[in-house]
């Protein structure tokens, strides 16, 4: 008798672009048990089906879109995961919200694995069980909004969901994400770039089914509980949550500046003047530009995203949706404090399919080099590339996307650009494993520094968020014991104390891997609901899937995923020496906020503790055979032996 699936649909869709073949594969039940879905199964497929040192732009690379058992239910909040081998040779994985994930489930699929490379520009149309690989020659070169419009017109349905790339990814610009629903960007580690290399412009999907749940009454009760937890201030477990509901991620724009965590002027400073910070604040944003809220599928957080319009001034006519805390980064990094300029930069990045962080850090690095006399107008196509030059900033975004002039150099990412320019410019690059960092205050919150240094993808805060704990007063000893938490929450709450951060990060990363595989929104679950207790999420998973799993088993799944992802990088040659943070954070103090650098000794201490807590070799950062076997990853240990990985 065929066993029914609840939560999962039980089908992986494999699309082979080289010969236009489509294969439907049953989802192995042991994968669902050991990796759950979404990020977990994506990583499993990627590890098993790619070879070490494979060229990321070769047809052998896989591009995987993954949902999880909670997708299509209100608990999943539209989250899903996109994975591939990054053009930087690390694992590339990133979550994305919106509506594509649920629609894919409604069409009947858990994962899409894109294989091979199309001979000409192509898009995929999934209409429940019917799958077509269509010509996209006429869309190649179009912006994301144009692509959205054309495909909807061709399909004759305005309600389909899509993933697409912009012109930047077509030109293999570094770190391009995949864009969905015009304003959601996923996987800034280059999934869009790899999609461009496969000549795949878009995937469109329409589903008419639903998601079966195992225990409908329990699901209803859990949803009522979830709703109450997220909307009743007294039940919230995080001091940021009420503000998050009110302003969404834009809340951080002003607060981060004031507390000294705004990455100003290429991280030379950690704050702007108060007036400048007020000008780009979430409060001003809400007052002047927001026209209506925007959230992901079934999400109860109304303020998380917002549609905006700029009606006056040089940026008049800019319209879009804001779904991340980017204003707190995109402006201060390059010294721009005009909110309309920041919003225009964001819209341009989404339209052209660029990673906004890559763009902002590239421009900030170039501006610092310009001000220090390392580069001149001769290098920058005649642009006066000083901090605060909004016009040059916006102009350079288009140049990067189309690889025009100096933009062609920046299109390679800061790491490569600094190698091309040389002349000491390498000193000012802010990258880890070749990827531009985000807005995390490494010198202020040490656990954030450790997360940035060690993550398999590179800098991606969503893979270990949040870098602080809920108030230790609400942490029960029982919940700590259940989840195997062996660090002191009070000590872990102290930002600039290296001790305990390794064990704290292990917990955060394992838990994030679980949340992103089930999936749920890392912000909503960690901030709004869970505190330090993943038990509520476990109860939801059981109600939806009917699979009985303990909290301990769930955390083991998280550890297995993180270790497998580490193994992917180990296979590519990444070791302890690559687990670091930019020189600036290790050597320079923050003069305007009175704290010193995070020293190499402190980072070493945290790395030692992190590897020890994970059962990874301290000298190399390679997962040991003992740990791999404990996590049922013996095949990985055997492969390490075969290819000569040394501990």
């Amino acid at each position: 008798m065929v066993q029914k699936w609840y939560g999962w649909k039980g089908t992986i869709l494999r699309i082979k672009l080289s010969n236009n073949k489509v294969v439907k594969q049953d989802l192995p039940r042991n994968w669902a048990r050991d990796y759950i879905g979404c990020r977990g199964i994506n990583s499993k497929i990627l590890y098993d089906e790619t070879k070490p040192r494979m060229d990321p732009f070769s047809p052998e690379n896989k591009l995987i879109f993954g949902t999880g058992p909670l997708d299509g239910t209100p608990f999943g909040m539209g989250r899903m995961s996109i994975s591939t081998k990054s053009p930087r040779y690390t694992l590339a994985e990133g979550g994305i919200g919106g509506f594509f994930g649920p629609e894919l489930k409604f069409a009947g699929y858990d994962h899409i694995v894109i294989e091979g490379k199309a001979k000409k520009p192509t898009y995929i149309w999934i209409d429940d069980g019917n799958i077509e690989i269509r010509d996209a020659t006429h869309i190649w070169g179009k912006t994301t909004s144009e692509t959205d419009e054309i495909i909807k017109e061709e399909v004759g349905d305005q309600d389909i969901q899509m993933m697409y790339i912009g012109p930047a990814a077509e030109k293999l610009v570094h770190a391009c994400p995949v864009i969905s629903g015009l304003h959601h960007a996923g996987c800034r580690a280059g999934c869009g770039t790899v999609m461009g290399s496969k000549k795949l412009k878009a995937i469109a999907v329409r589903g008419s089914g639903g998601v079966k749940v195992a225990q409908p009454n329990e699901v209803e009760n859990r949803y009522k509980e979830l709703y109450e937890l997220l909307t009743t201030p007294k039940k919230m477990k995080d001091p940021w949550w009420p503000s998050f509901i009110f302003l969404g991620p834009a809340l951080v724009n002003r607060v981060f500046n004031d507390v000294g965590t705004a990455p100003a002027l290429n991280f030379q400073r950690m704050s702007l003047s108060w007036k400048d910070a007020d000008d780009i604040s979430g409060e001003r944003y809400l007052e002047k530009y927001v026209v209506r809220p925007q959230s992901c599928f079934c999400c109860t957080c109304p303020g998380c995203g917002a549609w905006f319009e700029v009606n006056n001034g040089p940026c008049a006519g800019t319209k879009g949706a804001f779904l991340t805390a980017l204003a707190g980064t995109l402006g201060p990094l390059v010294g721009v404090t005009s909110l309309p300029t920041v919003l225009t930069a964001l819209v341009l990045c989404n339209q052209l399919g660029l990673d906004a962080m890559h763009v902002a850090y590239s421009v900030a690095w170039a501006m610092e080099c310009f001000e220090k006399g390392i580069i001149s107008k001769k290098d920058t196509d005649g642009l006066e590339f000083r901090f605060g030059n909004a016009k040059a900033y916006l102009e350079m975004i288009e140049k990067i996307a189309y690889r025009d002039g100096f933009g062609d150099i920046l299109a390679n990412g800061v790491e490569k650009a600094s190698e091309i320019i040389g002349r000491g410019s390498e000193r000012y690059k802010l990258t880890v494993k070749g990827q531009e960092i985000e807005g995390m205050p490494e010198r202020h919150l040490y656990v954030a520094a450790l997360g940035v240094a060690t993550d398999a993808v590179g800098p991606d805060h969503t893979r270990w968020y949040p870098p602080y704990l809920p108030n230790p007063a609400i942490v029960s000893e029982e919940s700590l014991r259940q989840q195997g938490i062996n660090f002191d929450p009070k000590k872990a709450s102290i930002g600039r104390l290296p001790q305990g951060k390794g064990r704290f990060l292990k917990f955060l990363t394992d838990r994030a891997a679980v949340i992103e595989s089930i999936p749920g929104c890392i912000f909503v679950y960690t901030r709004g609901i869970l505190g330090l207790n993943i038990g509520f999420l476990r109860d939801i998973l059981v109600a939806v899937t009917g699979v009985d799993i303990t909290i301990e088993e769930l955390m083991n799944v998280g550890e297995r995923i993180v270790t497998l992802e580490r193994a992917f990088n180990v296979r590519e040659g990444f070791r302890r020496e690559h687990d670091t943070i930019p020189r600036r954070m290790l050597e320079e103090p923050v003069p305007d906020k009175y704290y010193g650098p995070l020293t190499q000794e402190e980072l070493n201490l945290m790395l030692d503790e992190y590897y020890a807590s994970r059962g990874w070799d301290r000298k190399t950062g390679v997962p040991t055979r003992k740990k791999l076997e404990e996590l049922r990853l013996k095949k990985v240990a055997d492969e390490f032996d075969k290819i000569g990985v040394k501990y």
Partner: protein, 88 residues
């Protein structure tokens, strides 16, 4: 009497109607400041204090010249002249 610079964020601005202000207070503790503000902005105390401790859903950051910014841990925390507080 110490002079404190207060900055209000997100939903707190709905109660205060402003983004920042300067106050003088005799009782320069976290508790004293909240009580003083509650006189001007009724309801603010309820937002920040429950069962005699700082509410878990709120945060007060203390910025003092020459020192890194910290979150105020409890209601007895004393402030000095020139301190800047962020209420969120």
């Amino acid at each position: 009497m110490p002079i404190l610079h207060l900055k209000y964020c997100s939903h707190i601005t709905v109660i205060t109607g402003k983004l920042e202000e300067t106050i003088k207070t005799k009782d320069a503790t976290a508790n004293g400041v909240i009580l003083k503000l509650d006189e001007k902005y009724p309801g603010l105390k309820k937002l920040f204090i429950s069962n005699g401790i700082l509410n878990l859903n709120t945060m007060i950051f203390l910025m003092r010249t020459g020192e890194p910014t910290v979150a105020v841990p409890d209601l007895n925390t004393k402030f000095k002249d020139g301190d800047v507080l962020i209420l969120i």
